[in-house]
């Protein structure tokens, strides 16, 4: 049974951007599962994920049509532009600096509206449930 960390990323004041946080609320808590909500991914998370056998990054994705869980593609070339990081960079840092050797996945949740506000667009309720279902299926063997 593996330990898993779910990291939800998004700004709760940017409507659908917070959908990942809402999905976390729907996931059944288990002793081998930890949940973390952040506004953005930062390099310090490299150390946080190192203690787990599996990490799943949950994020709103404007390009997706349906919720999907897929492996993080780890690359060694990073963004020259900002201090914020993406899952690939976090996993690369964690593997190199903190000895993370677990599985890294990303759960993309379709989202449309990132304007200021606290309410999700109507479609998101369905997407949330679908994403939570995908996660439950992923986690089921380790319950």
């Amino acid at each position: 049974m593996r330990t898993t960390l779910l990291i939800a990323c998004g700004n709760p004041l940017r409507r659908d951007d917070c959908v990942a946080h809402e999905v976390l609320r729907l996931v059944t808590r288990t002793p081998r599962l930890e949940l973390l909500g952040v506004q953005q991914l930062v390099p310090e998370l490299a150390e946080e994920i190192a203690g787990f056998e599996r990490v799943v990054f949950l994020d709103a994705d404007v390009r997706s049509m349906h919720p999907a869980i897929e492996p993080v593609r780890v690359t060694t070339s990073g963004s020259p532009l900002t201090h914020a990081a993406n899952p690939s960079e976090i996993v690369a840092l964690s593997r190199a600096l903190c000895g993370f050797d677990g599985e890294a996945l990303v759960c993309r949740i379709p989202a449309r509206d990132f304007s200021p506000g606290e309410s999700l667009t109507p479609d998101e309720l369905h997407m949330m449930r679908e994403a939570a279902g995908e996660l439950e299926r992923l986690l089921a063997p380790d319950l």
Binding site: E44, G78, L81
Partner: protein, 480 residues
């Protein structure tokens, strides 16, 4: 035909900005400007709200240095109440301010500027980032990440959360500091001291390889403004303002931050959303000044902690009077980080910090309140006016990045004139040269957006625009 060169946005800074360079017919730099293109409007948003809400609301100005806004806002609230806060509350505020200085400087140095410093200004952009550092020196990068983590952890322990801690407000703070918190903080100290010392030992020997950058990326005389304690030492939470000139002489002293409007004026220009504060007796733009780590080390006579004092003495030897090279903001940042860790350690054995009384209770006693403190990037002022019911009538924020605005414009102009030389509109300038123009800005670690969530990736676009507005050429380094 004159041509304009645009660098938009400037990368590895907090927020969105662009640099424009106007070339003359011969392709030589005629003028350069640093444009800050964001508008926030917090001064307007807060009108009509109760002043007690201001620390929570104003902390949203920034996701990197929210503690500074919480503190300046809380202090303005203290003044509105007309109270002196309990000593335990003051010590907690000092502690969290040092922690924020540490995490913010760690972000600036290790994440944003170390790629230039350790990999070189001409390293490929795809490698000139923290993953490039990871390949070159993983231990150095790990230490930088953990230093920031330490600062964030202290803020979380004391303030309740890492970003936008809401534990401080008018009259004091809302939580007691515990021995359990002390014990955890103390476990980090040895590693933090070792990591900052290592960074200093890595930076100082390589400064010689940046002689050209040091001499031409914001090297000019100016005034320097910072808060000092009553003995003229480094001070970050509460004190009087001192201004020194480029010779290191005290130019103005014992200035009351609560009367900042008597001696600071605010000018504006049509090419940027950020104000241009100036020292009023010298007018604008002659009264421009610099704030932040470089200014604080130029202004203070001593640090007040053993290791930082040793580094400060060495730092001061770099200038004949004040150190005027903006490149040395990086070194100053490291000296301040060392000082912050030492101060955090000292506070852990300060009995005042553990006091039970953390809140002075009073109702509104004044209709005008001003709070100031030293934010990571420089002196910060919050100025509030309220009505008889305590509702906000007017707010004015004087933020460090704005106070460095004129100096940043001078720095990018100096760098453009030196490094660009003559530009052929048909041939894009070397990427390393463009990076040097951005690096001139990065010395100041400007904080422009002050919002936490990065919406997507910022592309870098350089355009040649003719006087008639037509685009003559463009290069882009948009990431995949």
């Amino acid at each position: 035909m004159s041509t304009r060169l645009m660098i938009e946005p400037v990368t590895r800074i907090e927020g969105h900005a662009k640099i424009s360079i106007q070339l003359n017919d011969a392709g030589e730099v005629e003028s350069s400007r640093f444009h800050i293109t964001e508008f926030r409007g917090f001064e307007k948003i807060c009108e009509g709200r109760p002043f007690e809400e201001m620390p929570g609301l104003m902390s949203r100005v920034c996701g990197i240095c929210p503690v500074s806004h919480v503190l300046a806002s809380s202090k303005a609230g203290d003044m509105l109440l007309g109270v002196s806060i309990p000593i335990a509350a003051e010590k907690q505020r000092r502690l969290v301010n040092y922690a924020q200085l540490l995490q913010s400087h760690a972000l600036s140095f290790f994440h944003l500027s170390a790629p230039d410093l350790l990999l070189g200004m001409d390293a490929p952009p795809a490698k000139r980032n923290i993953l490039g550092l990871l390949e070159r020196d993983p231990d150095f990068l790990r230490r930088g990440i953990r230093l920031r983590q330490f600062g964030q952890r202290v803020i979380e322990l004391v303030g309740g959360k890492r970003v936008h801690p809401g534990w401080s407000g008018p009259g004091g703070v809302h939580r007691r500091f515990t021995t359990e918190q002390r014990d955890e903080i103390l476990t980090w100290i040895p590693e933090a001291i070792a990591s900052v010392t290592l960074a200093l030992d890595r930076l100082k020997p390589i400064l010689d390889s940046f002689r050209e950058e040091i001499a031409n990326m914001g090297n000019f005389p100016s005034l320097f403004l910072a808060t000092v304690n009553p003995d003229g030492g480094l001070e970050y939470y509460d004190g009087k303002i001192r201004i020194v000139d480029s010779k290191g002489n005290i130019f103005a002293d014992d200035l009351d931050p609560a009367r900042y409007f008597d001696w600071l004026g605010e000018a504006s220009e049509d090419f940027t959303m950020v104000k241009f504060p100036f020292y009023r007796p010298l007018g604008y733009p002659g009264g421009f000044y610099r704030v932040g780590p470089l200014a604080r080390l130029n202004v203070a006579r001593f640090a007040g902690t053993e290791r930082a004092d040793r580094e400060l003495r060495e730092f001061k030897e770099r200038g004949a009077g004040a150190v005027c090279e903006s490149f040395h903001y990086h070194l100053a940042r490291l000296v301040e980080m060392l000082h912050a860790v030492e101060r955090i350690e000292q506070l852990m054995s300060d009995a005042d910090l553990f006091g039970d009384s953390t809140q002075a209770r009073a109702s509104l006693n004044r209709t005008e309140g001003i709070g100031s403190c030293e934010a990571p990037r420089g002196t910060l002022f919050h100025h509030y006016q309220v009505d008889a019911n305590g509702l906000m009538v007017k707010a004015n924020l004087l933020i460090a990045t704005g106070q460095n605005n004129h100096a940043m414009n001078l720095a990018v102009d100096q760098a453009a004139r030196h490094f660009l030389g003559r530009v052929d509109p048909g041939i894009p300038p070397d990427e390393g040269i463009l990076n040097r123009l951005e690096a001139a800005i990065r010395c100041f670690d400007p904080c422009l957006s002050c919002s936490t969530h990065a919406l997507g990736r910022m592309p870098l676009i350089v355009e040649w625009i003719a006087a008639d507005g037509s685009v003559l050429g463009q290069i882009s380094r948009r990431p995949e």
